[in-house]
Every structure is written in structure tokens, then in C-alpha cells.
């Protein structure tokens, strides 16, 4: 049975959302590391150790895995053009949640750039 387009669109939104949540957890974990310096080999290894030890990174992995499973299902059912052009929405999710949750300053210039990229990806995927 072929699922309807609205259901596929919902699933694509869901993978984008899971991806965004994954990135949120990863970034907030990295933000919580104090004074991480990556100048020498020791710094790099201690950075990697901190990442592996951070529970938030592992929570992120769960969402990444979920996102991959849904994405594979979508790819097996949906038109690739549609899937890739809708997936570009996650740039907007990332911008919005970086601002709301991570308190990053997303100004007009950054919003403009993000919207241009989304439009560009839609054109590239549809062509």
C-alpha cells in the first residue's frame, strides 16, 4: 500500500525534527565543556573523551538513529525530489531552535542567508 502524500510530508518533518533535536543535544553538551582547547594532541583527546562521557551526546545519538530509520522508510516510499526539497526545512528548524533554546543571536542577516539556502536547495532538488 502506498501511503498518502500528507503522511510522507509528516514523516519528513519528523526526521528533520529528530535531526534538529540531535544537534541541539550535541551543541548544548559541547557548550557545557569549560575551556576546551584543541591546540595540541592532548587537548584533542581530552575533548573526544568529554564528548564520549557526555550523556547528552548519547541522547542525541538516539534521536539521530530514529531520524535515520524514518528517513530510510521515507526514501523507500517517496519521490526523491520531494523528500530532499522538504528536508531542507531543517535549516529553518535549526535557526529557530538555536535562537530559542541555545540563545544564539540569529539576526536578520543570518535569517536571510538561511532562507536563501533553503530556496536554493529546493531548486537544486527539483531540477
Amino acid at each position: 500500500m502506498k501511503p498518502g502524500i500528507p503522511f510522507i510530508i509528516f514523516l519528513i518533518m519528523l526526521t528533520s525534527l529528530c535531526d534538529t533535536i540531535n544537534q541541539m543535544f550535541l551543541k548544548s553538551a559541547i557548550n557545557s565543556f569549560s575551556g576546551s582547547c584543541l591546540r595540541d594532541i592532548r587537548g584533542i583527546f581530552s575533548f573526544i573523551a568529554k564528548i564520549i562521557m557526555a550523556p547528552r551526546v548519547w541522547i542525541g545519538f538516539i534521536f539521530a538513529f530514529l531520524s535515520l530509520c524514518i528517513w530510510l522508510f521515507v526514501l523507500s516510499r517517496a519521490d526523491l525530489n520531494l523528500a530532499f526539497s522538504l528536508d531542507s526545512m531543517h535549516y529553518l528548524f535549526i535557526a529557530a531552535s538555536s535562537r530559542l533554546i541555545l540563545k544564539e543571536r540569529v539576526g536578520p542577516q543570518r535569517w536571510t542567508g538561511t532562507v536563501l539556502i533553503v530556496l536554493g536547495i529546493i531548486l537544486v532538488s527539483l531540477s
Binding site: 551543541k27 575533548f47 544564539e104 542567508g113 539556502i117 536554493g120 536547495i121 531548486l123
Partner: protein, 138 residues
Amino acid sequence: MPDKRLTLKIISLLIFSDVLETFTHFCFKKSTLTQFQAVITDIPQAFGFLSGVFSSHFLWMGILSVVLTFILWSAVLSRIDLSVAVPVASSSYIFVPLVSIIALGEKISLMRWLGIILIVLGVVFVSKSTSEKGASVK
């Protein structure tokens, strides 16, 4: 407060992690192509397929490249905002078509060119937003 500006060094790290990601997909695809069994109907066949894939060197190269990509990406995130890193990483949408033109001699349609130009403009805007006065420093 660390400097959050997007430097050339960070851009090259981002691009390198993009290239590695493409390499990952290539390796995974290659590891499945080593299997002659195209149709899997029962569980023993599935195990046969998996054990074949896992004995392929390409699979292990792919896994190594996933780990490396993740470390690179985390290193980039420790330096810049997430709302900058993610858009700038979209440059892969530019490189893949460019490589297809130069290396494979593919023809690119007008609409695709338009899309590529929009993405380039977007990346420029996002990069410039990191040097806005007080924009990235809290």
C-alpha cells in the same frame, strides 16, 4: 568569551567534514555492491548478506569515516554557533554539482544553476552575520 567568528580554518574543517561524509556514503555503497545476492527473502540469507558486508574493507573504512566526521563536526561546533555551522555545511550542495561538471562532464540545468547561486549567496550572508557588531558575542 571565546571568539565566535567564522575563520578560514573553520570553513576548511567544515568542508573537509563534508567531503568525508560523501566518502562515507561511497564506502557504504561499495560494501553492499560486493554482495552478489540482490534479493533477500529469509533470515539465513539476511545473515549471509550482513556477514558479507561486514567482511568488506569498505564497510570498516566507512565506519572509521563516520567517527572522524563526528569528531570534526564536534570540533567545529566548539568554535561557532550551531545556526552558523549547519547552513555553511550546506556547501556540499555546491561541490557535488561542481565536481560532476568538471570531473564527469555532466550538463547542469538553468534551474540547478539558479539554486546553486542562491545557496552560495545564503552561505555568504550567514558567514558575514558572524562578524556583525555584537551579533555573535553575548
